[in-house]
């Protein structure tokens, strides 16, 4: 196991704010493990505990066999860390940042160029530009280069794609794909549900708790409930109607459709449609939908909040 987390609890302000609530999971060597959850889910706190930057209130964790408290200096040697906030030196150029972080880890850029070659070619045209003047996507690529330059055994990427345009996001994940064959374990967090598909396994996290851990397919497959897609011109009125509907568990808008989870999985789309028409929504079209990760997350979140 590359990463073992056992019953980690972290609170702030003398226990008043619970950030990480009894979290446990394991990550295999070479696995890409995604922690997916909204802002404030406790992802960054968890990352900081695992990168030895924060001490947990209770629980244990080890990175490549090193305890996060006792062997923190060993972990710092073998980890590549990319904080959620861009943290390189803004006034140093791309090349200077890279050289500096290589030296910090006792290596040189030349020695490990092969590790970052694919990524570095994309930012090389800007190598003399101060890091602070790069675009969001470029910054993330540079930060990834700096985190990779010492050939870490494990990479901690805290929201690497937040604030980055969709094209750059896709590119970033493609780069992580190419790292796969180097057998580097990657722990990555993201608030974007669609990025779940690019992880080997995912943990859905909310308000400090992990709601589900598995491969994406299994998380979706284990979801017993049904989801209906609902189309209408009267989105707002209809969703108000569903809120008081006896048979409806929850209803969320997704673009121009509503996703409706019934209380009873045996409920048929036609039955629901009929009840809507009865209530005066004549243009309603309701059909069965394969639940996606967002539907599942929304419902797990609802359960977590006791709805």
């Amino acid at each position: 196991m590359s990463l073992i987390v056992k019953n980690i609890v972290k609170t702030y302000e003398k226990g008043k704010v619970l950030a990480v609530d009894n979290v446990s999971f394991e990550v295999k060597q070479g696995e890409r493990f995604g922690i997916i959850g909204p802002d404030g889910a406790g992802k960054t706190s968890l990352f900081r505990i695992l990168t030895t930057l924060l001490l947990a209130d209770s629980g244990e964790a080890s990175v490549c066999g090193n305890d996060v408290v006792a062997d923190f200096d060993k972990i710092r040697r073998i980890s590549g860390y990319m904080p959620g906030k861009f943290s390189l030196y803004q006034d140093l150029s791309v090349e200077e940042n890279l050289n500096f972080f290589a030296t910090v880890f006792g290596t040189t850029v030349a020695e490990n160029k092969h590790l970052i070659q694919d990524i570095y070619v994309q930012i090389e045209p800007f190598k003399d530009r101060p890091a602070g003047k790069l675009s969001g996507g470029m910054k993330q690529k540079l930060a990834l280069c700096c985190a990779l330059i010492h050939e870490p055994k494990i990479l901690f990427l805290d929201e690497p794609t937040t604030g980055v345009d969709p094209v750059s996001r896709k590119e970033f994940w493609d780069m992580l794909d190419r790292l796969k064959n180097r057998n580097i374990t990657i722990l990555v967090s993201t608030p974007y549900m669609d990025e779940a598909s690019r992880c080997d396994r995912i943990a859905l996290m909310q308000t400090g708790k992990i709601l589900a851990i598995d491969t994406l397919d299994n998380v979706i497959g284990s979801y017993k409930n049904k989801v209906f897609g609902v189309e209408t011109k009267h989105m707002h009125q209809l969703s108000q109607f569903f809120k008081i509907h006896d048979a409806v568990h929850s209803c969320y808008p997704f673009g121009d459709t509503l996703h409706v989870t019934p209380k009873d999985a045996l409920l048929k789309a036609t039955e629901l449609e009929a009840s809507c028409k009865l209530a005066g929504f004549h243009d309603v079209v309701i059909y069965d939908l394969k639940p996606n990760i967002e539907d599942i997350f929304m419902n797990l979140m609802g359960q977590n909040n006791g709805i």
């Binding site: 860390y81 904080p83 861009f86 943290s87």
Partner: protein, 368 residues
């Protein structure tokens, strides 16, 4: 070692690219030297005064002539009526009025006693005292010349000598003062801000998750600022010598060595502050209020420590600037050697060691 050099190089790049701070670092001592050297001066020179004399006679004229000839005073008004005195001061035309009594020459000749009154504007007590002193001196001189050869049966002759600074130039006080203050301010503020900056920008987070030793981060931060402070010392000394014509009497190498020691004291203090706070503004505030103010008050540069109440005198001992200021005055102005300042040196070495030790101990290996 290679890592350390990389750190130092990085620090120099930070300093070099932040042109505004660099400009302040270099321009501040130059500006302060000019301001203190030419604009702010408590020397009395060509001060405007007035003479009140109902009737100008021969004796009065010769006293007035002496006063007017001296470099301290310029007579800009002759008055004949005591009512004018009030207005003279109110309109701020001058700082002193010399009043001769009626029939000054007659009384001097017949009664052997004539009165002169000196009226000073004591809004600024220091200047008033100095001016009165000079005027008394000039009148006393005149009196002596009157006596001529006639020997008094008894006489105590007072002879004054101002050692080390016979011309009473203020440069002898402010050059060491400016040096001590600039080093205190720059050394402490710049280093503390530079470390706290890394915390604020998050790069400290990256450095922590790496094999570098905290001590390396700390010392690499101090080095560029040590060099800049040393350049400031050289600028101030060169300006003192060649712009203000102030002789540097002691051994210049001793002076520089002591300055280097004090630079390390201020840097270690800066590191201590930066390891205790998380925001640049707090670091700056502590440097300014927590250090600059006590340094101004307790260094002896602005206010003589001997005149302070006992508790304040004791407090002054913990202000490092005080010891450096005394070293500077001893070496620069009095030309004393190391044997006279070894105690001060020891105290500064002790303070530096203490601050460094605490700074290193306080360096957090985690975020909180």
């Amino acid at each position: 070692m290679k890592t350390f050099l990389a750190f130092v190089l990085k620090e120099f790049q930070h300093v070099w690219r932040d042109k505004r701070s660099l400009f302040i670092l270099i321009a501040m001592p130059v500006m302060l030297m000019f301001i203190f050297g030419f604009a702010l001066s408590n020397e009395v020179k060509n001060s405007n005064i007035a003479i009140l004399c109902p009737k100008l006679d021969e004796e009065v004229l010769s006293v007035i002539e002496k006063i007017d000839q001296s470099k301290y005073f310029t007579i800009n008004k002759m008055m004949h009526n005591p009512n004018e005195i009030e207005n003279y001061f109110k309109q701020n035309k001058g700082k002193m009025v010399i009043v001769f009594e009626n029939d000054f020459a007659d009384k001097l000749e017949h009664d052997k006693l004539a009165n002169v009154q000196l009226i000073g504007d004591a809004t600024d007590p220091n200047t008033a005292t100095t001016m009165i002193g000079y005027a008394q001196g000039i009148i006393g001189d005149y009196q002596k010349s009157l006596l001529g050869e006639t020997n008094l049966p008894y006489a105590i002759q007072v002879e004054t000598r101002m050692l080390y600074n016979p011309q009473l130039l203020s440069a002898y006080n402010f050059v060491p003062g400016v040096m001590a203050l600039i080093l205190t301010l720059l050394g402490t503020m710049m280093t503390s801000v530079s470390i706290v900056k890394e915390k604020e920008f998050g790069s400290m987070e990256l450095l922590l998750v790496s094999p570098v030793k905290p001590i390396m981060v700390i010392f690499s931060k101090a080095l560029p600022y040590a060099l800049l402070c040393f350049i400031d010392v050289l600028i101030i000394l060169l300006m003192a010598r060649y712009v203000l014509d102030m002789p540097i009497r002691g051994n210049i190498f001793l002076l520089l060595a002591m300055s280097v020691l004090f630079i390390f004291t201020t840097l270690s203090l800066g590191l201590l502050i930066s390891n205790s706070v998380d925001q640049q503004q707090v670091a700056m505030f502590i440097s300014l209020v927590g250090l600059m103010m006590p340094s101004l008050i307790f260094s002896g540069f602005m206010f003589p420590i001997e005149n302070m109440p006992k508790p304040m005198q004791i407090i002054s001992n913990i202000v490092p600037t005080k010891w450096y200021f005394e070293i500077l005055k001893s070496v620069m102005v009095k030309g004393l050697g190391f044997s006279y300042i070894w105690k001060h040196t020891l105290i500064l070495v002790g303070m530096t060691a203490f601050f460094t030790l605490v700074a290193v101990r306080k360096f957090k290996i985690r975020l909180s």
